[in-house]
């Protein structure tokens, strides 16, 4: 058995890990205290109507922990339960955490893994996302850092994508996708000519972590490992950004510049070329260090304008 343990690939893949495994590997060892944990059995009251099973934590872990010795609040969505979608209880736990962050001035780490609103409780989920955005922005206006971590199977879709873009800093892997409307939904509504959801290379170069990093939609690109996320999160908290009128004016300018520079692009590769990156065709295949080396100095950066 010890021989077996020695041979394991001990890198915890963020993509593969569960919400609990992600938090365990992200924060200081054993430092998590969970709020309204599974033993409280606060499950969704709505899924039974659809004959669907509940999960004891409704698909999200929230709590307090230490990150490199600093007291933080943490949340992690479980992308495999109902696609990590926001339901009433799920959403309310994150609302509470962000309200507490403002009250206690503690920074927050949110591990996103979500398809957006949970259909079976759509109104409650939609409203929860609105409450989360409000609580998050108020916490940031009070000086709290909110760091989003994206690299799960479900990506960060729908309202999740909006919440993510409200964070102070976003850390992504190439697997991490950030978007509002999902590929299948665009294809269903607008046709396969508009969006071929089966063409996965296309999906990832349009919505994936590398593209988001290149256009300034994410701030740090890391390898698919919990250790890399941890290091990047520590780095993010040690270089805080502010949210004020100046930040949003800068973001306005940044987003308008993006429209002006790339507004006519048909494909992500045209944007990458316009950034001056050359060549672009093998960008998706590159490992993180080669990618960062090639993108260095050429990408659009949010630089705190978020």
């Amino acid at each position: 058995m010890s021989v077996i343990s020695a041979l394991r690939n001990e890198t915890t893949s963020w993509y593969e890990a569960s919400a609990r495994q992600r938090i365990d590997a992200l924060v200081d060892r054993g430092s998590l205290t969970e709020f309204v944990g599974p033993a409280a059995r606060e499950t969704s009251p709505h899924l039974a109507i659809f004959g669907l099973p509940t999960q004891l934590d409704d698909g999200i872990v929230v709590g307090e922990a230490a990150l490199d010795g600093r007291a933080v609040l943490v949340a992690a969505q479980e992308g495999r339960f109902m696609g990590g979608a926001f339901g009433e209880v799920h959403g309310a736990k994150l609302v509470g955490l962000l309200r507490a962050a403002r009250a206690t001035r503690r920074d927050v780490l949110i591990c996103f893994d979500t398809g957006g609103v949970r259909l079976q409780e759509a109104n409650a989920g939609e409203l929860a996302i609105a409450e989360i955005i409000r609580a998050l922005v108020l916490a940031r206006l009070a000086g709290v850092q909110v760091v989003g971590l994206i690299g799960g199977r479900a990506g960060c879709y729908g309202g999740g994508g909006l919440i993510a873009a409200c964070c102070s800093t976003l850390i992504v892997t190439e697997q991490g996708r950030i978007s509002v409307t999902g590929p299948e939904v665009i294809e269903t509504n607008k046709g396969v000519e508009e969006f071929d959801s089966k063409d996965r290379a296309f999906v990832w170069r349009t919505m994936g972590g590398k593209h988001r990093y290149l256009i300034g939609g994410a701030d740090r690109l890391v390898a698919d490992s919990a250790a890399a996320f941890r290091a990047a999160a520590i780095g993010a908290l040690s270089s805080p950004t502010v949210l004020d009128a100046g930040t949003l004016d800068a973001e306005q300018a940044r987003l308008e510049r993006r429209l002006a520079r790339f507004g006519t692009a048909e494909d992500a590769t045209e944007i990458w070329s316009a950034l001056g990156i050359d060549p672009v065709d093998d960008l998706p295949a590159l490992d993180e260090s080669s990618f960062l080396a090639r993108a260095g100095g050429k990408r659009e950066s949010a630089d705190g304008a978020r």
Binding site: A39, R41, T54, Q55, L56, R80, F81
Partner: protein, 105 residues
Amino acid sequence: MERLTFTLAAAKQAGGLRQQAIIGVVASGNLEVMLERSAPSGTCTFEIETAAHGFGAVWEAVLNDFVARRAAGGLRITINDGGARPDTVALRLAQGVRLIEGDEA
């Protein structure tokens, strides 16, 4: 959803110090298992909610083997099941016992 409960004699008392452990997720073909040290010693209780109907006999067979093989005395075990196969159920239960046997975190 089908709800099943079982109370089984479990000779071997669960080891370790943790009060609670949870493993797995509720997804298609998967399940979550929560173990709490709150059943009378010598017994192991199971509360199961499952999306797959009509598998009571299979559950009973899996759980009987589990309490015979693993130290599960004194555990209250809560299961939410997304239609997992018996081998997955047995694996999660074993993983759960290993987890609760760990040191208090």
